[in-house]
């Protein structure tokens, strides 16, 4: 049987890859992908622990909620990215450095 430690190690590596993408990439959409990777690492943990809760399904139900929240986050974030691109003509997070125009 697969132990919990295996799942935890996979999700740790996945989380760190997402962290690297967020820190190193120069494109808002790629940063968004990094956030999604980190969220997925967390969801993997929820699901792995949720195997030991047959009566209440807390882990799996919360994983479902997290997936829905990720969808809402992505929709709003992409709308903001589109607006930023329309205004600044770039989606490099380093170059967007003013709040008003």
């Amino acid at each position: 049987m697969i132990t919990l430690n295996d799942f935890l190690m996979v999700s740790v590596v996945l989380f760190c890859i997402g962290l690297y993408i967020i820190l190193a990439k120069k494109n808002a959409i790629q940063v968004l992908i990094g956030i999604e990777l980190m969220l997925n690492a967390a969801i993997l943990n929820l699901v792995a622990f949720g195997r030991f809760d047959r009566a209440n399904n807390a882990g799996q139900v919360f994983a479902l909620f997290a997936i829905v929240l990720a969808a809402a986050t992505t929709a709003v974030a992409l709308a903001i990215v589109l607006n930023v691109y329309r205004r600044y003509k770039t989606i490099d997070p380093d170059q967007i450095n003013q709040l008003k125009d």
Partner: protein, 182 residues
């Protein structure tokens, strides 16, 4: 057998995530992100969470990735050229701080995982001795349905309202601005 499947799925997931991190082409890294999500769905199945796996495929692959592709295609050629002109290696000096921070974080997290010894947690062992583990025969999905409509009804409704509000807000944010109100 299950162990072998787990290692294959974990390898696919992590390798494609690494390709996403190292790739210079945004479109290619987006399509490798597809592969990562499918690998993660396989891992969810191996954790006996088949309903979550199907939801992952439907919502992430069908919804979020198509949305990201749309936004990327709509944001035009300049962004694409900027990304391809970036020409940074995985190991270049500019990425050194990010690489250092990520490596240190990886070390810390591995320490935490090994110290925590998740398989020996008290409540996990209690659940294992009480046969409170998800069954392999696929009846676990009945429990999810019943729980979602009884125990977790309030969070379910709240999150549905939140999702609707977020989608309406996204549609409002991304509409074309009128000429007179810029």
């Amino acid at each position: 057998m299950v162990q072998v499947f787990f290692y294959i799925m974990a390898f696919i997931t992590l390798a494609s995530a690494l390709v996403v991190a190292a790739g210079k082409n945004l479109v290619r890294s987006l399509f490798m992100f597809f592969v990562t999500l499918f690998g993660l769905a396989g891992l969810y199945v191996l954790a006996l969470a088949d309903f979550v796996a199907v939801t992952q495929i439907v919502v992430y692959v069908g919804g979020i990735l198509v949305l990201i592709l749309f936004a990327f295609m709509l944001s035009g050629k300049e962004a694409l050229n900027r990304v391809s002109a970036q020409s940074e290696g995985f190991m270049s000096l500019k990425n050194a701080p990010a690489l250092l921070l990520t490596g240190l974080f990886l070390v810390i997290m591995f320490n935490v995982v090994f110290k925590a010894q998740a398989d020996k947690l008290p409540w996990v062992q209690v659940a294992a001795s009480n046969k409170n583990i998800m069954p392999v025969n696929g009846t676990g999905i009945n429990h999810i349905g019943v729980n979602l409509m009884t125990r977790y009804l309030l969070p379910f409704e709240v999150i549905s309202i939140l999702l609707m509000l977020a989608l309406v807000g996204a549609a409002h944010l991304s509409r074309k601005p009128k000429e007179d109100e810029v």
